[in-house]
């Protein structure tokens, strides 16, 4: 009888049709040479298209104009061609077209979602926004004020403050330490001319990556790609920032706030998504802290001791930095205990192999749960885009599955030993913690005013 659960788990982890593709990804090239990945699904008359421009993120913002890339993402859908802001937005809204843009430190992206019946106009409006944005004074000012309002609102959010300090200290001296959302004063300096120049210099066909899912055929996509993106120019590849090692490792920073809980963020160096051990590190982190209930951090700190509502560890994948971070919060008096409990789990993961049960559970979850995140056209297009932005091969999902399947407890321990080092952690605490030895006070939030 005892063998039954194990067999059951094996069956799930290694289904008979394991060689089936996880997703049926088609690679499409337009007559004009634009490439895209497509997953066709005609069950709902909806099309989701996501696209990105590599290397065009906040890392390109000048220091006195932090938030420039973010502002471009806010204003690109605020009027284009003959259509002013309200006319453009009204047409999107009346046709129920979702068109929006986003920017992070490394990349710029766009997202389009439309009903099939409105696709022609949806594609035209997207092309117009990308190639003929207006950057009129009125919407630029309005978006600047909305961003300033967002920053002022965030000043009541201790999680946000903690993240701001972490970025500032962990990436000290590097462009990643800047506030990619802008500061109150830097946003003031960003003009329509700045946006026009940033757009002209960086949004190009040669940076472009496209992913599509939903009610669209391969043939139709090929012509659509040229219609939407064909008029984009080629641009000079943006200058790249250097890689950066974690700064201020081993230090603890405290930002005093009069709140009942302390927010805790701890970060150490992580592992690149292209590294051969990356999937083993994912297995390790599932057991350590990424899985919520059942993870060692949650079991020891929430379930056994009631010290927090939530504790997670997760990898940070950036172009020039890789991190492994822990986020949690606890009543002020427990702060020191919380930090030492996290470090205990770090040592345990290095010193003993994970159990066979933990290994099997991690494998089953990491492989079996993937389809759960692929149940809408947005989800699928989003995954296709992120794989391409990270320059992963088209069979990445199958490779990932193989690597996870073949992991052993010894492999995981080897990776833990190579990767985990609690002495290299930088820690940021926001709240009123006491008895934190050697902590450095933060006087003022950096790059906010």
């Amino acid at each position: 009888m005892r063998i039954m659960p194990a067999l059951l788990i094996l069956f799930i982890a290694f289904p008979a049709h394991a060689r089936d593709k996880v997703l049926d990804i088609e690679q499409v090239t337009s007559p004009g040479g634009i490439k895209a990945w497509l997953v066709e699904d005609h069950s709902v008359p909806v099309i989701a298209m996501q696209f990105g421009f590599r290397g065009v993120g906040g890392a390109l913002d000048p220091v006195d104009k932090q938030g420039l890339s973010r502002m471009l993402s806010n204003t690109l859908d605020e009027g284009a061609g003959e259509l002013d802001s309200q006319t453009f937005q009204k047409e999107l809204r009346d046709l129920s077209i979702g068109l929006s843009f986003g920017s992070d430190r490394d990349d710029f992206s766009g997202s389009l979602k439309t009903l099939s019946q409105n696709k022609k106009r949806a594609f035209e409006l997207t092309a117009l926004a990308l190639t003929k944005p207006r950057f009129d004074e009125e919407p630029v000012k309005r978006m600047r004020e909305a961003n300033q309002s967002r920053i002022r609102s965030s000043l009541t959010d201790p999680d946000w403050m903690t993240a701001r300090i972490m970025n500032d200290r962990a990436f000290e001296g590097h462009v990643y330490s800047q506030n990619s959302g802008g500061s109150l004063s830097s946003l003031e300096k960003i003009s329509p001319e700045d946006l026009r120049a940033f757009h002209k210099n960086n949004i190009g066909k040669n940076n472009l990556v496209v992913a599509v899912s939903g009610d669209m055929t391969k043939e139709e996509l090929a012509t659509t790609l040229d219609n939407i993106f064909g008029d984009l120019p080629d641009v000079k590849p943006p200058a790249q920032a250097p890689d950066i090692a974690l700064q201020n490792a081993g230090k603890v920073f405290v930002f005093k706030q009069d709140i009942p809980q302390t927010i805790v963020e701890m970060m150490q160096p992580g592992i690149d998504r292209h590294h051969p051990d990356y999937q083993l590190a994912q297995v390790m982190n599932f057991v350590l802290g990424s899985s919520g209930f059942g993870s060692r951090l949650t079991e020891e700190i929430r379930e056994k001791r009631g010290l927090t509502y939530g504790i997670y560890s997760y990898f940070i994948d950036m172009k020039h930095f890789d991190g492994l971070q822990v986020s949690t919060s606890t009543e002020t008096k427990n702060t020191a205990e919380m930090i030492s409990l996290v470090k205990v789990e770090w040592e345990k993961m290095k010193n003993e192999p994970i159990s066979e049960q933990e290994l099997q559970d991690a494998k089953s979850y990491l492989i079996g749960s993937l389809p759960l995140g692929l149940t809408s056209t947005d989800d699928i297009a989003g995954l296709l885009l992120s794989l391409q932005m990270d320059e992963m091969p088209v069979d990445y999902l199958e490779q990932r599955e193989d690597k996870i399947k073949n992991a052993t407890a010894a492999d995981v321990q080897r990776v833990a030993k190579e990767l985990l080092d609690s002495n290299k952690m930088i820690t940021v605490l926001t709240g009123n913690p006491e008895n934190i030895a050697g902590s450095v006070p933060i006087e003022k939030l950096p790059n906010v005013e």
């Binding site: 909806v46 009346d94 129920s96 309002s149 009541t156 709140i259 009631g306 606890t330 559970d361 006070p441």
Partner: protein, 479 residues
């Protein structure tokens, strides 16, 4: 990163489709005969077991996965006076040991089978849900059925989990002046009504919760005849019915008390809630009204849903256009309506004033937009555009696995019927300009005294004369 969220504080934001709820079931036969070709949004199949368990199945064959949810028709508003938070605490304890499962094993087992699970509590319902490979449906059902009547957490687990919910309250509410403001505004709006208590509970009452109190609540409300099973995904109705009959069928129904919601009495005084806090740097103004839910008045609720789309639906809606684009006195403005309630619904007008604007003037500008609507009416084109947009929501709502399960769950748990959900788009299309003006006049008119006056709220920065507002926290940090 996603944190575990076991409480639906702002449920509306999580939902794809602002669907209604009502007991207009009596009408459905007649409507069906009149228009036999009407298309349903989801084509759900429904069943009922002899023990009273309702079953809704929404087939969706995109991927070999399912979402399995059990909704109990009980929530924070069903708590006795003085034991606020017990519904939500019980929801946490449901993971702490039940028939055949050790504390914590429920979620661990779901993970080990490649699935995700969680739960949340609202004022009118409590829901438990799992998303997992379709071949695990039977396993998941057995586990969920096992804790429908067989909860038995060890005492030490109850004690440590009580600390967890207090940490949850600190994290969600006490650490955040915006959340404390929302909590107090809500308490001022729902006088004498259970919706005035926060779902998570008041801190002192939460700390005093015991297993006995949770057990009493569990025994009173948890049973197959007070639950709705919703399964969405790669299954047929027959498959789910057969399994449910085998697994949930043997559970005995429980004697159920009536759901009571004490009413907000007629009031006279106009109430203002004002919270000034040193950490607030962006003011917020809000005007909250009690209005009918779908369950209370389907026709008025449908009109309020269209009103929400006209006034508050995005960057070209009336309030944003007037206050943000034209008058330039705010950075955001809108109207939100929550009608998916068993008892009273509520409606909020809100705006974030730009620095230098008097908050009171911004409230006046919100009022003025309601006056203009009542005085000038709604142009035909504006209404038909709004109705067209709302029709499209019905199509987008199908592009999801768990979204439709959510919609059926909260709609049925707060008094709606299956047909109310399936034919929502036709009911919305029938709303007229006069319907909308009638509800605006009846409930929102600033020049007419309301039976239950709105509450006006101001969340404001605290003036600190010697320092600029931004450097205040830094000054405090100096040793």
């Amino acid at each position: 990163m996603q944190r575990q969220s076991r409480i639906a504080v702002s449920l509306a934001a999580a939902l794809l489709l602002a669907v209604p709820l009502s007991y207009a079931a009596a009408k459905k036969e007649a409507i069906k005969e009149e228009t036999p070709v009407r298309q349903k949004i989801f084509n759900a199949e429904t069943f009922k077991l002899d023990n009273g368990l309702e079953i809704v199945v929404i087939p969706n064959h995109r991927a070999p996965v399912i979402t399995h949810m059990v909704w109990y028709k009980v929530g924070a508003a069903d708590e006795d006076h003085g034991v606020s938070g017990v519904a939500h605490f019980l929801e946490h304890l449901m993971f702490k040991g039940s028939q055949g499962l050790k504390p914590g094993e429920f979620s661990e087992k779901i993970r080990s089978l490649g699935g995700n699970d969680n739960a949340f509590t609202g004022q009118d319902y409590t829901a438990y849900h799992q998303s997992i490979s379709v071949d695990q449906l039977e396993t998941v059902m057995k586990m969920e059925a096992g804790r429908m009547r067989g909860l038995n957490p060890p005492l030490e687990q109850v004690v440590s989990e009580n600390k967890v919910i207090l940490e949850e309250r600190r994290q969600r509410t006490d650490n955040d002046p915006r959340a404390r403001f929302a909590e107090q505004l809500n308490a001022a709006l729902y006088i004498n009504h259970p919706y005035g208590n926060p779902i998570i509970g008041w801190a002192d009452e939460m700390a005093a919760l015991t297993w006995d109190k949770c057990k009493a609540f569990y025994d009173r409300w948890y049973g197959p005849n007070n639950a709705i099973l919703v399964v969405s995904g790669d299954v047929t109705g027959q498959q789910v019915y057969d399994l449910a009959k085998k697994i949930y069928g043997p559970l005995k129904p429980v004697p159920l008390p009536e759901r009571v919601r004490a009413a907000v009495p007629p009031l006279e005084a106009s109430v203002t809630v004002r919270l000034e806090d040193e950490t607030v740097h962006q003011a917020l103004v809000q005007k909250a009204f009690i209005v009918p839910s779908y369950h209370q008045n389907a026709k008025e609720s449908l009109a309020l849903q269209v009103l929400e789309e006209l006034m508050g639906g995005g960057p070209t809606s009336r309030l944003y256009k007037a206050l943000v684009v034209e008058q330039k006195i705010a950075t955001s403005a809108g109207l939100s309506y929550q009608g998916s309630m068993w008892s009273d619904g509520d409606l909020d007008l809100y705006a974030s004033p730009l620095p230098g604007q008097k908050p009171e003037d911004v409230v006046t500008a919100l009022d003025e937009q309601i006056r203009l609507l009542i005085k000038n009416g709604i142009p035909e084109a504006e209404l038909s555009e709004a109705l067209t947009r709302m029709q499209a929501e019905a199509v987008y709502a199908r592009d999801s696995l768990s979204g439709p399960a959510m919609i059926f769950g909260y709609s049925l748990a707060s008094g709606s019927t299956i047909d109310d959900v399936e034919y929502w788009q036709y009911n919305i299309a029938a709303v007229t300009a006069n319907d909308i003006l009638a509800v605006a006049k009846k409930y929102l008119d600033p020049d007419n005294a309301q039976k239950r006056p709105p509450v006006t709220g101001y969340l404001l920065p605290k003036e600190k004369p010697p320092e600029t507002a931004l450097s205040a926290p830094a000054e405090k940090a100096a040793p």
